[in-house]
Symmetry: C2
Subunit: 236 residues, 2 copies
């Protein structure tokens, strides 16, 4: 079974939702047969490299909030994170994430995607130093995730590297109806939107697992040629 999770690194509910999903997955009896894939989403698609800014100012300007309102929003996210054992620093930045998604696709190729995603979330939400607009910071995180630092540096230096992979994910997000994140798709049969409680993920995993055997066969062996336990019959 495959679970695809559309997320953005700058999305606090993705940080929380990932932990809630992983909590459910850890106790799912068939977890060894569940493949989890990160899919790219851009919360703020017009943002460009170099224009990171403190989240509080961004919320005040973008939403017309007072400083107190923006601060209260961050306080709530910090408490929700703490409830899952996740650190959440106040005063994080908001910025450009496209290159992080490119790096996550490179990590996927190397079997290190989950490791890098976890480290990117931690860097953005749990560490004082901004994760934005600092390629060497990303190279360090890639190395910590088990990737080759020079290879990661090359990916970051070449804007075309894995860019098409990110764009394909963004197109798929639109196709499956993901307008916000986190957005979870189980075997392309069911979707779960938002950072639901772990019990909701457990139910969705169970439902998707049990429905695997009800796959409609749109063209069957009666009209096709196949090999099975009785050999490879040929048409007469």
């Amino acid at each position: 079974m495959r679970v695809e999770i559309w997320t953005d690194i700058s999305c606090p509910w993705c940080y929380v939702g990932q932990a809630r999903f992983e909590k459910a997955l850890a106790s799912f009896p068939h977890r060894a047969d569940v493949e989890v894939v990160h899919r790219s989403f851009q919360l703020d698609p017009h943002r460009t490299k170099g224009d990171a800014e403190p989240i509080i100012g961004f919320l005040m300007r973008g939403k017309g909030w007072t400083r107190e309102q923006a601060q209260a929003n961050e306080d709530t996210l910090s408490r929700q994170s703490a409830a899952l054992g996740l650190k959440y620093v106040m005063g994080r930045d908001h910025g450009y994430t496209f290159d992080m998604h490119r790096l996550l696709h490179f990590a996927k190729e190397q079997g290190r995607q989950r490791e890098l995603l976890t480290l990117l979330y931690r860097a953005n939400f749990a560490e004082e130093r901004s994760v934005y607009d600092d390629d060497e910071r990303l190279v360090d995180l890639a190395a910590e995730a088990g990737l080759d630092a020079d290879a990661a540096r090359k990916v970051l230096a070449d804007p075309s590297a894995h860019a098409e992979d990110v764009h394909a994910d963004l197109r798929e997000a639109a196709a499956v109806g993901a307008t916000g994140v986190p957005f979870f798709v189980l075997d392309r049969r069911f979707a779960v939107s938002g950072a639901q409680r772990p019990e909701v993920f457990t139910q969705a995993l169970t439902k998707a697992w049990e429905s695997r055997s009800s796959l409609p066969v749109v063209a069957g062996a009666a009209h096709g040629d196949a090999c099975g336990p009785d050999g490879c019959p040929v048409p007469h």
Copy 2:
């Protein structure tokens, strides 16, 4: 969109079916957004390393056929292959494929699965020399597919390497109802069984593509916390 194809290297209808599917895919307008994944299937799960034998003898013994009947079966498969431009040698062997599946999983990790699968089919069906029970032959094919020869040799020498990946595919085959191969699963929403005509694959690809947007959301944003174009609302 993802298409998973359960196959075995020793399966002639898989060789033919792969070519028919690829013909349909080549003219599918959204082919750039279709990911194709090989899944392992064992036609003859009790066969072990070292006991390859000529296919004609296997068919005569296994199915109680005369030599002429077995030969006629091979003739038909040869003609079906030729119709797709595929060479098919008479007198191929039948043998143990588990290690080839392990190698295909290693190739998947390296982004070279399709290349290796194509070469394994060619080696088994289009070349005089048997592909079975000859690790160095497989290492050569792996290298031709763009893999590191030493790494491939190590995978073959360690029976546990990628064995669990193969077993997971076999379990999934049972779960999705694949009792014969080739068996095609499109986005885990539709299945096509057998080496259907290219037009059937075109219809199935189109149907699966168009149905992507009708994914049922089992738990929606109304009850979950998500970030979208309007920010990351928090519960009050």
